[in-house]
Amino acid sequence: MRSKPKWLFPVLALLPVLGLYACLRIYPIAETLRLSLFKWNIISRRKPFVGLDNFIELMSDPLFLEAIFNTTIVAFGVLVITIPVGLALAALINSRQGLRRSGFYETSIFLPHVVSLVPAAMAWKWIFDARLGPLNALIGWFGIPAQAWLFDPVLSIVCLIVLCSWQSIGYAVLIFLVGLKNVPEALYEAARLDGASSFQAFRYVAIPLLKPVMLYVSVITLISSYNIYAQAFVLASDVQGAPGHLVRVLVLDMLENSFRNYRVGYAAAEAVVLLAIVLVLTGAQFRLFRDRSRA
């Protein structure tokens, strides 16, 4: 038994997993890159190589430009809400850590992050509903006229940002809490001895130490917002089944090109753009990290 070569078990055990990775991850990623260079149409038999033509066409495609514009606005809108609100909530929860009620705070803030997207989006859809929703009734009390939240191109993006922020805050709070627990108590003590208030201690002790964590959460939030689809699908699809107003996001535009217009190569080019955005964000994160640790 001991005469078997040492590498036999690890290699045999790893092979099936590597096989799955090769078929289900590496091959399709490579295939996306390849297809993006072809005029690859499901219905036509000729699938010529077109170089960067798909990308050039994307640059002047109004629907794609609208999609990338909307998605960027949503991603940064969510970021601008999630980071400060998440940080403030985490700081407040952290100051009440160890009390029984802090369990309620954590759970209630985190729950929106985990519940299924579609029912959660449907809940918000009712809130935003122009005729029946409580939001219009609420602002009516303050004398603000009712708005067609989900039918106005600007307001529907605001709604999408609200929904996505509601979902992402829980994740940010959770990660910030982990970060805050790693701040050595002695540093707070020192700050207090120097006469700093709790707020000052948080501002000048915890925040600088949390910068890498904030960077991490920011990148994760941006990347996940660039991938939104279900939220836009539910929120912006018309209840009456009419060709309703859609908030065009990147993934939606990509799936439409691929499955409605059968332009697979063109859709693959959009996927490559999405990949490039994600890689730039991830790269920026690593770079900023490295600079910080060198400093």
């Binding site: 996306t32 909530l89 409580p134 959770l174 279900a230 089944g241 993934v251 990949l275």
Partner: protein, 285 residues
């Protein structure tokens, strides 16, 4: 402001400032839950009460009409069944492959293993939506649209799972333990199943919950792979139901509430595992 002389005493925590923080956090917590609470409460309301302002949180005259109606109109229970099977198998596959690959990559050092691990982690940066289309074309060519294997194809492995297990194995399972078993003549398979797996209960528990939620809430992939009502997952069925011709908020809320409650319940039961898993994703660096 807290008393600087007794920074961490218990009395310090119930100062007016501390209680004010409680009030703020309590209000925020309720606001976060409110959309979900309304959704569930709307599921039990009669049509006139649905229009009432201000909206009631506890229905005046609760009714089961909406729920019965929606169960009659849609194969919701069937969708829940589909999703349970899909999520269960996906979880089983992810936990198994992560346990094996994480252990092997963490405890054996063949010269090419670091490169393999690097590639596995690198693929996790690429969003699923990026390579969904080629994957779809393959599933279609294999005639697996509208089948369980076709659905599963997107959810069999998880890079983060391999990362999590490897991390745990290298820091928490001593090499001496494995060596001792080898000296006693134990085979590698036996060591893995009888010694390593029982020690990995913590990370595998966290991973189980993460993987299950990932499949339970999957949307884009099931949406393109399933095209008939019988094979929809819950999320897809629900999303398409709400774009249909129904304007009945009661019925829509009932369907959404039925879909929501299992995931919320599962989360409250598994909260610790889940939080550990998600927090782990933040500790990559």
């Amino acid at each position: 402001m807290s008393d600087p002389d007794h920074p961490s005493s218990d009395a310090d925590r119930n100062t007016p400032a501390g209680l004010a923080i409680d009030v703020v956090l309590f209000a925020v917590g309720l606001m976060m839950l409110l959309p979900l609470v309304f959704l569930i409460s709307n599921a039990f309301k009669t049509p006139p009460e649905l229009l009432a302002w201000p909206p009631t949180i506890i229905p005046d005259r609760p009714t089961l009409e909406n729920i019965l109606g929606v169960l009659h109109e849609t194969p919701l229970l069937h969708w829940i069944g589909n999703t349970l099977v899909f999520a269960g198998l996906s979880t089983a596959s992810i936990v198994t492959t992560s346990a094996i690959a994480g252990y092997v990559l963490g405890k054996f050092d063949l010269p090419w293993f670091p490169a393999v691990f690097g590639i596995i982690i690198a693929t996790s940066v690429v969003p699923f939506e990026v390579y969904m289309i080629p994957l779809y074309l393959n599933v279609q060519a294999a005639g697996m649209l509208n089948t369980l294997p076709g659905l599963l194809v997107g959810y069999l492995v998880m890079s983060f799972g391999i990362f999590l297990v490897r991390q745990y194995v290298t820091t928490s399972i001593p090499d001496e333990l494995l060596e001792a078993a080898r000296v006693d003549g134990a085979g590698e398979g036996w060591i893995f199943l009888r010694i390593v797996v029982p020690l990995m209960r913590g990370p595998l528990g966290a991973l189980t919950v993460l993987a299950f939620f990932q499949a339970w809430t999957a949307f884009a992939w099931p949406l393109v792979v399933t095209t008939n009502k019988d094979t929809y997952t819950l999320e897809v069925g629900l999303a398409l139901f709400q774009t249909g011709f129904t304007v009945d908020i009661g019925h829509l809320s009932a369907a959404a509430a039925l879909a929501l409650v299992p995931s919320a319940l599962f989360f409250s039961l598994m909260r610790r595992n889940f939080v550990r898993g998600v927090a782990g994703t933040g500790l990559k660096e």
